[in-house]
């Protein structure tokens, strides 16, 4: 309490400095007059001594003198920098470059790696996957039955929920658009701990298959539909079904990533342990570590493996913290970037340090004079550091402005496909980082000239005058050589690093695509044109220079094709069990394969004769052939999709990177 009121009085003093000075002056005057009356003015003056010193001593009692001197330094540094705009702007821009690049990359690191996930107690959230020893896979999806057993038998989790991605077509205006979403079991929202912004989420009764269809919408989807609060309780049409809107989730909630709506997932009553198409998210009990949950889940998985040796052959469980799941490999990529940016910052520092050293050499006279006049060496060094920190802060201000723009462009382009990219922004923590970087670099690059200036011997230099300098100081040149060497070393390091990054990038994009993109034009057409697509293609083919023209519901490397786990059935085989992969599927016209330059491995592609009224035929790709027809000839076999008509496999195409498996002739949808 004592010290508190003391600090308070000291602070009060700061704001009443003027008043204080006036008071003290008047008090002194009064004292002098009283004294003069007694001993005569001259004697009084002599006995009183140095009034200015006395005032300064009285002031010092309040403990702010250091700060005031520093404010003077600051004022002087500002003036000195303003007087030398050439130097100042070069230094500030250099620092802006270094700090700006650092800030931009740190914003990304912050948004992706450091910021907690937007859920309450996000460190308690985990994904639970199945593992398959025999295939060396550690994160595969789970069948509903296994999920139910996990949920019932495990004690490590507060809640556990299954979900599966879902997409619906919805008419926005005249155009049908695909909207991504998820079907979720009833514990989904409680497990994540997120409350809806409006309305409510699902209640247990709505989990029943027979319940009226209901949905919860994302904030952005709600906005797209007009953002009217009264939408809650109204009906929306997805595909051919009508759903009642129960609630709207808060802004920014999109789990799994990209979800715009959530449906209630009815429990799977089919007792089919082979249909592995569910992902599982779970919240750990308080005080239970992911490792403990992992060992419990492994025990349960082992038990299930014994109970269902066929379906759960080699199946284990894998508990992955949600953050790790989402961030995954981005961590290493971003670390490389951080390293590169640190290099740039260091180079900028060394550059500015060099500039400062040169400048300090030109100002030796000034500093020698200050030292001679009684300024302490520490005081001069402190002044120089003040100047360089000021430079760094100015650079940081410009750098942050640049970084904001950079981050916006980076988020829009998303060149390396980072998770959580939408959450990246320049926020308080980033600014804190920038401030710290500026302070540290300012001190770092100010240190060299400050040390030099405060070295003894400078005063001698003043005596000798500027003409006498030069050869007598080898130390100075050595210092600058070191700076230059460091600079070159850093630049080379950066160059090599950049080269390596480029190389791995080139390697990554030069993986065989499975089709020849050269000379292929892709055009996205509205769904409504499908009735007239043959006519359109005919006219395209008539154009000079067009070799082939085909249409399909998805494009190679385009992830917008339809995927479905467990939709594919093969005649003569039981409905596949333990299927881990989603099977992709698209519909194509006969010439599509030729136009895209896809290669044929076996059989034939579609011809015009495979049209609407002909028997259904299908081309599968190598991956599917290998997976579902191991060591068999797939040609002539029958498969079907989602319980529709059986189709005959007529050909096997080469794999296309990024896209799934099967193709169908046009009239299949």
């Amino acid at each position: 309490m004592q010290w508190f009121s003391e600090v308070w009085r000291r602070l009060l003093f700061l704001f009443r400095r003027r008043q204080f000075d006036r008071d003290l002056e008047e008090e002194m005057r009064f004292h002098m007059e009283m004294k003069a009356r007694e001993a005569g003015p001259v004697a009084a003056q002599r006995k009183f001594g140095n009034a200015a010193l006395l005032q300064e001593d009285s002031r010092e009692a309040w403990g702010w003198t250091g700060l005031e001197a520093w404010a003077d330094d600051l004022k002087y540094a500002l003036r000195a920098l303003r007087k030398n705009p050439g130097f100042t702007s070069v230094a500030v821009l250099t620092m802006a470059l270094g700090i700006g690049a650092g800030t931009a990359v740190f914003s990304v690191v912050n948004g992706v790696l450091l910021r907690p996930l937007p859920f309450p107690q996000p460190d308690r959230l985990t994904m639970v996957w199945e593992t398959r020893e025999q295939r060396g896979e550690d994160r595969t999806m789970v069948s509903y039955q296994n999920f139910r057993d996990w949920k019932e038998q495990s004690r490590s989790f507060e809640r556990m929920a299954a979900f599966v991605g879902a997409g619906v077509r919805m008419n926005v205006g005249d155009e049908p658009v695909m909207i991504p979403g998820a079907s979720v079991s009833r514990d989904f929202f409680p497990a994540l701990g997120v409350q809806p912004m409006l309305g409510r989420t699902f209640v247990p009764e709505e989990e029943r298959k027979s319940a009226a269809p209901v949905t919860v919408l994302s904030y952005s989807f709600w906005q797209k539909l007009g953002g009217d609060r009264s939408l809650v309780g109204k009906k929306v049409q997805f595909d051919r079904e009508v759903f009642t809107v129960l609630g709207i989730m808060p802004r920014g909630f999109a789990f799994p990533a990209g979800s715009e709506f959530w449906l209630s997932l009815p429990p799977d009553e089919s007792h089919n342990r082979g249909d592995c198409s569910f992902r599982v998210v779970a919240r750990l009990q308080d005080g239970v570590t992911a490792a403990r949950a992992q060992s419990e889940m492994q025990t349960i998985a082992t038990r299930l493996r014994q109970a269902y040796p066929k379906e759960n052959n080699g199946a284990g469980a894998n508990v992955v913290p949600l953050m790790e799941q989402i961030v995954g490999e981005a961590r290493s990529a971003l670390s490389v970037f951080m390293g590169a940016v640190a290099c740039v910052l260091l180079i900028a520092c060394v550059n500015v340090a060099n500039l400062l050293v040169v400048r300090a050499a030109a100002r030796r006279r000034e500093f020698a004079l200050r030292l001679t006049l009684g300024a302490g060496r520490w005081r001069v060094a402190r002044y120089l550091l003040t100047e360089s920190v000021l430079l760094a802060l100015a650079g940081a201000a410009v750098g942050v402005a640049a970084a904001r723009g950079l981050v916006r462009v980076f988020v829009a382009l998303d060149p390396i496909h980072l998770p959580r990219i939408q959450e990246v922004a320049v926020d308080g923590r980033v600014l804190l980082y920038t401030m710290a970087a500026a302070m540290v670099t300012g001190i770092l690059f100010g240190l060299a000239p400050a040390l030099r200036i405060s070295r003894p011997g400078l005063v001698n230099w003043l005596k000798q005058g500027p003409g006498a300098s030069g050869s007598g100081e080898p130390g100075r040149n050595r210092g600058r050589s070191v700076l230059a060497a460091v600079q070159i070393a850093l630049a080379v390091m950066l160059l090599i690093g950049a080269g390596l990054l480029m190389r791995s990038f080139v390697l990554r994009v030069s993986v065989p695509l499975g089709f020849r993109p050269e000379g292929v034009l892709g055009i996205e057409l509205p769904w409504s044109i499908r009735q007239r697509v043959d006519e359109l293609l005919e006219r395209l083919r008539a154009l000079p220079g067009v070799q082939a023209a085909g249409a399909a519901t998805a494009f190679p490397q385009d992830s917008a094709g339809s995927y479905c786990g467990g939709c594919l059935e093969i005649e003569g085989q039981p409905k596949r069990e333990g299927k881990q992969y989603d099977t992709g599927y698209m519909v194509a016209t006969p010439e599509f394969f030729r136009a895209a330059g896809m290669s044929l491995r076996e059989g034939r592609f579609f011809t015009a004769a495979d049209g609407r009224d002909a028997p259904q035929v299908v081309v599968i790709n190598e991956a599917l052939a290998r997976r579902d027809f191991p060591e068999q000839d797939p040609i002539g076999r029958h498969i079907r999709w989602g319980g529709e008509q059986w189709s005959t496999v007529i050909g096997v195409a080469g794999n296309v990177k990024g896209f799934g498996i099967a193709g169908d002739p046009m009239p299949a949808v």
């Binding site: 009064f30 001594g49 006395l54």
Partner: protein
């Protein structure tokens, strides 16, 4: 800091200036700086209070909260700053006195012929 004690020279034993100021204020009530110096000189007959240490000391006592200061009329109708003892100043005075007596007795024991 700590320079004030050095500039006091030998006239007032180092560390006792606070006690003398506090005691003066306790005896005569609110006083201005000049009055305090005068009082100490008259009472002690020999002690010389330097302005150079008196005013910084008063500032420190303000910070500590032992005294408060306000402007008032002096005997000769001039504006003067009066220092007034606070409760915590009173407490401090007794602390200083007992400290001082302890030290005095100790010193006496050392220098008295046995």
């Amino acid at each position: 800091m700590g320079r004030d004690e050095a500039t006091t020279r030998t006239e007032i034993p180092p560390g006792t200036l606070y006690m003398l100021i506090l005691k003066s204020l306790a005896r005569l009530g609110p006083m201005h700086g000049y009055g305090i110096a005068q009082h100490i000189q008259q009472m002690s007959e020999i002690l010389q209070v330097e302005e150079g240490s008196l005013y910084p000391a008063l500032q420190r006592m303000l910070i500590k909260g032992w005294v408060t200061a306000e402007w008032g009329q002096s005997e000769n109708n001039r504006r003067a700053r009066y220092y007034r003892l606070t409760a915590s100043g009173k407490k401090q005075l007794s602390v200083e006195i007992s400290e001082f007596e302890k030290v005095m007795q100790a010193i006496t024991r050392v220098i008295q012929p046995a």
